[in-house]
């Protein structure tokens, strides 16, 4: 009799401990899911805040004015709210940056993937990674105090703040990014394509430029596109070196403000919460987010494509 009771208790205990384990497992899984969902919450927060504040902005300023007015002077006594000058500043610095990063990044990627021995790669790759570890404010310092004086030594009429020096430095900054994504794409090209080219008597350079490069083109384009998105969002270099006057110009030798620089400029001042000036930075931020989003999505689509090809 007592043995039976003991057996039953033991069974019950075992059951309850299994039950407890199950509850614990479930609880932990829910906690982990919660952690994963915070990233979604952040996105919702970003979009929510930007859209909400921009909504307040666009209730007072029409979309037509926003996209067609050629002046951006929200803090002047006679305010104009045309985003074009900020967009032109962003486009010019990004174009200069690409003019640096595309050729340099591609060359580095080709030499790392097709020419370099594994020893050289082991040294260069961490070196490139370190480049991206340098804080952007330090790059801003370089742009203002080294690159601009160097440009002035060549063309004395270059002003102290200009988009060219900011763009050049941003270009240097995104080289590691462009080169590492392109290199991955080129290494994904199967070896038999290279061997085929060599068998037909192609030299190493012909193989690299005419076989590997075209085969990896969608991946390499992805690298460029993601690089563009980086350059658009870069803030400190332009805020320090490009000057902060918004003006509609396509000449890289002139000072101008980008969207990011404008946000910094306003944040440095002390605008009252809820004023139209305060709302302008959110409208600008929304435009910026949408521009980078387009490039990011395009880049990821291209990246997926080269993965599927082989």
């Amino acid at each position: 009799m007592s043995a039976e009771v003991a057996l039953k208790t033991a069974e019950a205990l075992q059951l309850s401990s299994r039950f407890l384990t199950n509850v614990k497992e479930r609880a932990i899984e829910s906690l982990l899911l919660l952690a994963a969902l915070t990233s979604v919450a952040i996105t919702v927060g970003i979009i929510g805040v930007l859209v909400y504040e921009s909504f307040g902005f666009f209730r007072q300023i029409s979309l037509v004015d926003f996209f067609t007015d050629t002046q951006w002077t929200p803090l002047f006594s006679e305010p104009h709210y045309g985003i074009l000058p900020l967009v032109s500043g962003t486009v010019v610095t990004t174009a200069v940056a690409l003019a640096v990063a595309v050729p340099m990044g591609s060359l580095i990627a080709i030499s790392l993937s097709e020419y370099a021995s594994s020893g050289v790669r082991e040294v260069i790759k961490p070196g490139l990674e370190l480049l991206s570890a340098v804080p952007t404010v330090v790059y801003g310092y370089f742009a203002l105090l080294f690159v601009t004086p160097a440009l002035q030594a060549v063309w004395p009429e270059v002003p102290g703040f200009n988009m060219l020096s900011a763009g050049l430095v941003i270009g240097m900054m995104i080289i590691p990014y462009v080169s590492s994504v392109s290199e991955d794409a080129m290494r994904a090209v199967p070896v038999h394509l290279r061997e085929g080219a060599f068998a037909l008597g192609a030299t190493r350079m012909q193989t690299a430029l005419r076989v590997v490069f075209p085969s990896a083109l969608s991946g390499i384009t992805a690298a460029y596109v993601l690089g563009i998105s980086r350059a658009i969002g870069e803030t400190m270099v332009v805020a320090i070196a490009a000057g902060m006057q918004p003006r509609l110009t396509w000449n890289p030798l002139e000072p101008a403000a980008t969207m990011t620089a404008y946000i910094v400029q306003v944040s440095l001042g002390d605008l009252p919460h809820g004023s139209i000036g305060y709302q302008t930075i959110f409208a600008t931020g929304l435009t910026l987010l949408l521009m980078t989003l387009v490039f990011n999505i395009a880049g990821h689509v291209l990246k997926k494509r080269y993965r599927q090809m082989y």
């Binding site: 929510g48 340098v134 404010v137 969002g233 400190m236 910026l288």
Partner: protein, 277 residues
């Protein structure tokens, strides 16, 4: 390629040359000042340390938890897809946009003010995608046989993750954490938007007090500044002497990030040697 490295090296050397003379005990232990020769980075580097502490405290557990969920638990359904696409896209959002979000949400909606707490949370949100991506890669490197062996011995899912998968991928996880934090150390733009002050001539309330309960959270709500903000402030001034201070702050800042990167490489090497599958 050599040219790019050479240009950068030249720039770095120039920075060190300009700034090194200014880096001294006095520089590290003085507050910012109107007089360039008396100015220092005391409040800035203490601010950086405190903000990094908060950032790590928030981003590391959240990031590792999210990565474990996605790698070990998540079923293949639409919710997982949404989370994954979302993380990829978050990683590409410009940092200043995080600053705008924090300004609207943390500063004004949650009334956290322009404080250490806001700064730490802002940077934590910024590096969260990086932490998640790095941790997932580390977890993926653990071969599935390890998990199967653990299940075969009757371990539950969580026991397997806690006692096997996470410890074995610790090297990769730690490396990712350190690299993400070193990114956060140099971030400037989002902290400007949430209202970093560039002239702070006092220290925050001490986190440790003499009376019971010995820890104080008063400092969380103090105004903050960090190294890159201080450097930005000095670069933007017209006077030459302040530019030298900026170079010196830059040297200290680069030393900080390089030290973290070196630590990451060392950690990676150490764990790589110890584990043989």
């Amino acid at each position: 390629m050599a040219m790019a490295c050479f240009v950068l090296l030249a720039l770095l050397l120039q920075l060190i040359y300009d700034g090194m003379g200014r880096v001294s005990w006095q520089f590290l232990t003085s507050y910012p000042s109107r007089f360039p020769s008396q100015a220092g980075i005391l409040s800035a580097w203490i601010g950086t340390v405190l903000v990094m502490f908060l950032t790590a405290l928030t981003a590391v557990p959240l990031g590792i938890g999210a990565a474990i969920y996605l790698e070990e638990y998540a079923a293949k359904n639409w919710m997982t897809d949404v989370i994954e696409i979302n993380i990829t896209n978050l990683a590409g959002v410009p940092s200043i946009v995080y600053g705008l979000m924090a300004l609207g949400l943390l500063v004004y909606e949650f009334h956290l003010g322009q404080s250490f707490l806001t700064a730490g949370l802002t940077l934590a949100m910024l590096i969260l995608p990086m932490v998640i991506i790095a941790t997932r890669e580390a977890l993926r490197a653990v071969p599935p046989q390890i998990r199967e062996a653990s299940y075969a011995l009757g371990a539950t899912k969580w026991q397997t993750v806690r006692d096997h998968v996470v410890p074995y991928s610790m090297g990769g996880i730690l490396t990712g954490m350190i690299l993400a934090l070193s990114r956060a150390v140099g971030e400037t733009a989002p902290l400007i938007t949430v209202g970093a002050l560039s002239f702070i001539a006092f220290l925050p309330h001490p986190p440790v007090t003499a009376e019971f309960p010995f820890v104080s959270i008063q400092w969380l709500f103090d105004p903050f500044t960090v190294m890159p903000i201080q450097m930005f402030n000095w670069v933007s001034r017209p006077q030459e002497e302040f530019h030298i201070n900026a170079a010196a702050a830059g040297v200290v800042l680069i030393l900080m990030t390089l030290a973290m990167n070196a630590l990451a490489i060392a950690v990676r090497g150490r764990f790589r040697r110890r584990i043989h599958w």
